[in-house]
C-alpha cells in the first residue's frame, strides 16, 4: 500500500521535470514528511503500549503490596515458625527491600520473561503460565471461531429484516443471552448434555496433538458457554449497523442498479457494518479472559483461570502479578491486531 501511494506521487510530478533536477527536492521532502508521519504514529503507538504495560504493572504491584498481608508469613509460616524464620523467608523472597527496589527488580526480571516464583509451589510463574496457556488459548480461539460466523448470519438476517418477526426473535434471544449468568448457563449445559445425556465429557481437557476428536469433545460445551454471550453482543451490534447501512443512499442505488440482495449485503453492507463490530469484538475478546476463568471453574479445566483463582485464594502475589501482566500483554496484542484489521477494512484510517 505504501509503495503504491509513492508511485502515485511520482506520476503527479510535472511532465518533463528532471527526475534528479529541480523537482526532486520537493518530492523528497514530501516523501520524507510522509515517512516521518508514519514513523511518528508507530513510535506513538509503541509509547502508548509501554505506558499501558507500565501502568498495569505498577498498579497491580502497589495494590498487592499496599494491601499488606505479607507473603513471608505464608511462605515461612508453617507450623512452629518463629519470628526469625519469617524474617529469613522475607529476606529470601526479597521482601525486606524497599518498595522501589522490589518493583525495579520485578521489572528487570519481567523484561527477560521471568515473573519470579510462586510462593506456594515454588515453581517459576512463567512455567506455570506457559504450561496452562494451551487450555485458555484453545477456549478463546474456539469461542471466537463459533461466535463470529453465528453473529454475522444472525446480524445480517435481523438487520436486513428490521422490525419483522425474525428480527424480533433474534433481538429477544440477544437480550436474554446478555442477561445470562455465564457460569449458570455452563452448569445447565453440563448437567443436561454431559451428566444426564452423556453426550459430552463433563470435565477435563485433552491436548489437540494427542487426540483431536477428544479435544473438540472436551472443549465444545465450555466454548458454547462462552460463545453465546459473545455472539449475542456481536449480533446486537451488527444488526444495528446493518440496518443503518442498508438505509444509506449508496446501498439503495446499488439495489436500484439491480445488484442482488446477497451482493448488496455481502459487498456493501457487511464490510461497512463490520468496523464497529470489530471494535466490539476486540473488547469482547479481551473480556473473554475473564470468561475463561469462569468456564474453567465450571468445567474443571486447568487453564490460566484456575491458576489465578487459586492464587487469589492463597494470596500468591507473584502468580497474580504475572497473570495480570500477561493479560495486559494479551490485550495489547489484540489491540495491535485490531489496528491492522481497521487498515485492511477501512482505507480512511490508513493515513493515521
Amino acid at each position: 500500500m505504501r509503495t503504491m501511494s509513492v508511485n502515485v506521487v511520482v506520476e503527479q510530478r510535472p511532465p518533463g521535470a528532471d527526475p534528479v533536477g529541480a523537482a526532486a527536492p520537493a518530492w523528497d521532502r514530501r516523501r520524507s514528511a510522509r515517512v516521518l508521519r508514519s514513523l511518528n504514529a508507530v513510535v506513538g503507538r509503541i509509547l502508548n503500549i509501554v505506558l499501558l504495560l507500565f501502568m498495569v504493572s505498577l498498579g497491580t504491584f502497589l495494590l498487592l503490596k499496599l494491601a499488606g498481608g505479607d507473603a513471608a508469613d505464608l511462605a515461612g509460616g508453617e507450623q512452629g515458625a518463629t519470628a526469625a524464620d519469617v524474617a529469613a523467608a522475607r529476606a529470601r523472597l526479597g521482601l525486606d527491600q524497599s518498595l522501589v527496589q522490589q518493583y525495579l527488580s520485578w521489572v528487570g526480571h519481567a523484561v527477560h520473561g521471568n515473573f519470579g516464583n510462586s510462593y506456594i509451589s515454588g515453581l517459576p510463574v512463567t512455567d506455570l503460565i506457559v504450561q496452562r496457556l494451551p487450555v485458555t488459548v484453545a477456549l478463546i480461539v474456539g469461542t471466537v471461531v463459533i461466535a463470529v460466523p453465528v453473529s454475522i448470519v444472525l446480524g445480517l438476517l435481523a438487520g436486513a429484516n428490521e422490525g419483522r418477526w425474525i428480527d424480533r426473535v433474534v433481538t429477544g434471544l440477544c437480550s436474554v443471552s446478555t442477561a445470562l449468568p455465564t457460569f449458570w448457563f455452563g452448569l445447565v449445559l453440563s448437567l443436561y448434555l454431559a451428566l444426564r445425556a452423556g453426550w459430552f465429557p463433563a470435565t477435563g481437557f485433552v491436548p489437540i496433538s494427542q487426540d483431536p476428536v477428544a479435544f473438540i469433545e472436551h472443549l465444545l460445551l465450555p466454548v458454547i458457554t462462552l460463545a453465546v454471550p459473545l455472539a449475542a453482543a456481536l449480533t446486537r451490534q451488527l444488526r444495528g449497523s446493518v440496518a443503518e447501512v442498508l438505509s444509506l443512499d449508496y446501498v439503495r442505488s446499488a439495489e436500484a442498479r439491480g445488484a442482488s440482495r446477497i451482493s448488496v449485503l455481502g459487498k456493501h453492507t457487511l464490510k461497512n457494518a463490520s468496523i464497529p463490530a470489530i471494535t466490539l469484538l476486540g473488547i469482547q475478546v479481551i473480556t473473554l479472559i475473564g470468561g475463561t476463568i469462569i468456564a474453567e471453574a465450571v468445567f474443571g479445566l486447568q487453564g490460566i483461570g484456575s491458576l489465578v483463582i487459586s492464587a487469589v485464594q492463597s494470596r500468591d502475589t507473584p502468580v497474580i502479578q504475572g497473570v495480570v501482566f500477561c493479560s495486559a500483554i494479551f490485550a495489547v496484542i489484540v489491540n495491535v491486531v485490531l489496528d491492522v484489521m481497521y487498515r485492511v477494512l477501512s482505507p480512511r484510517t490508513r493515513s493515521v
Binding site: 449458570w184 487469589v312 502475589t317 489491540n335
Partner: protein, 300 residues
C-alpha cells in the same frame, strides 16, 4: 447588576431535560417490557424490605429427612442438600443481592460521575490523564482486574463489590464526560457564563440535568453487570461468605447435588437472569423513550 437583569431575561432560556421529564416518563411506562421489568424489580424490592423488617421464614431451619426433595405444598421450591427450604433461602438472598448491587453501582457512580464531570468541564491535561486511565481500564480484562483487587483486599462481598465498582466506573466516566463536553459547548451555557454564572451554578443548573438521562441509562446497565459479576465472584467463592447467601452463591452450593436435584441450581439462576434482564430492559426502554423526545443518549 440591576441593569443587567432585563438582558438576562431576554436571553434564550436553556432547554432543560427535566422539563420533558413527564413525557419521557409516560413514554417509558407505555412499553410492556418496561412495565414487566419494573414490576419484577419492585417485587424484589418489597421482598427485600420485608426480610429487612423481619420475615416469618427461617432460611437455616433444617429438615434432614426430606433433604433434596422437590417442590411440595409445604416447601414450594423444595429443599436443598442440607434440608433447608429453597424459597426461604431465595427470599433471604434477595436483600443481600440487592445490597451488593447497590454497593457496586454506588462505587462505580462515585468513581465515574465526579471525575467525568471534572474532566468534561475542565478539559486540558487533567482530562487527558484521566481519560488515558479510563481507556487503560477498558482495554484490560475486567474480571482479572477484579481478581487482583480481591487478591489485595481479601475475599468478601463488600471487597468484591468495591472491585466491581472500580471495574465499571470507566463506562460511567465516559458517558458523563462526553455529555458534559457537549453541554459545555452549547450556546446557552456560554451565555450563562457571559452573565457571570459561577462554575458551580453552571454545573448544577445546566450540566447535571443534561447528564442525568444518559447517566440513568448507564446506571441501569451497570446494575445488570454488577449483578452478573457478583454472581460469578460468589460462585467462585470470592464474593459473599457463608452463612450469608446471594443468588450466585446458592448456585455454588447447589452444584454438588445438581445431578440428583437439578431444580436447586435452576431457581437462583432464573432469579439472576430475570433481574439482569429487567435492568437491561429498563435501560433499553429509557433510551427509546429519550430518543422519541429527541433527547437521544448517545451511548453505544
Amino acid at each position: 447588576m440591576t441593569i443587567e437583569q432585563p438582558v438576562a431575561r431576554a436571553l434564550p432560556v436553556a432547554p432543560r431535560h427535566f422539563a420533558h421529564g413527564r413525557q419521557v416518563f409516560r413514554d417509558l411506562f407505555r412499553q410492556v417490557s418496561v412495565i414487566l421489568a419494573t414490576c419484577y424489580l419492585g417485587l424484589l424490592t418489597v421482598v427485600s424490605l420485608v426480610v429487612w423488617i423481619g420475615s416469618p421464614m427461617d432460611p437455616n431451619a433444617q429438615d434432614l429427612t426430606h433433604r433434596l426433595n422437590g417442590p411440595s405444598a409445604h416447601h414450594l421450591l423444595g429443599l436443598d442438600a442440607l434440608g433447608r427450604d429453597v424459597l426461604a433461602r431465595l427470599v433471604h438472598a434477595t436483600p443481600v443481592t440487592f445490597l451488593a448491587i447497590l454497593e457496586g453501582v454506588a462505587v462505580a457512580a462515585v468513581l465515574g460521575v465526579v471525575p467525568g464531570l471534572i474532566a468534561g468541564f475542565r478539559g486540558g491535561a487533567l482530562d487527558a490523564v484521566m481519560t488515558k486511565i479510563a481507556d487503560a481500564f477498558i482495554v484490560f480484562p475486567g474480571l482479572v482486574l477484579a481478581l487482583a483487587i480481591i487478591g489485595a483486599l481479601g475475599p468478601g462481598l463488600t471487597n468484591a463489590m468495591i472491585a466491581v465498582g472500580v471495574l465499571l466506573a470507566p463506562g460511567i466516566y465516559r458517558v458523563v464526560r462526553a455529555t458534559t463536553i457537549s453541554v459545555r459547548q452549547e450556546t446557552y451555557v456560554q451565555a450563562a457564563r457571559t452573565m457571570g454564572t459561577s462554575n458551580a451554578g453552571i454545573l448544577a443548573r445546566h450540566v447535571l440535568p443534561n447528564v442525568m438521562s444518559p447517566l440513568l441509562v448507564q446506571l441501569s446497565l451497570t446494575a445488570s453487570l454488577v449483578l452478573l459479576i457478583e454472581a460469578s465472584l460468589s460462585y467462585l467463592g470470592l464474593g459473599v461468605q457463608p452463612p450469608a447467601a446471594t443468588f450466585g452463591s446458592m448456585i455454588k452450593d447447589a452444584q454438588q447435588s445438581m445431578v440428583s436435584q437439578p431444580l436447586l441450581a435452576l431457581f437462583p439462576g432464573i432469579a439472576i437472569l430475570l433481574t439482569a434482564l429487567s435492568f437491561n430492559l429498563v435501560a433499553d426502554g429509557l433510551t427509546r423513550a429519550l430518543k422519541r423526545r429527541g433527547l437521544g443518549a448517545d451511548n453505544s
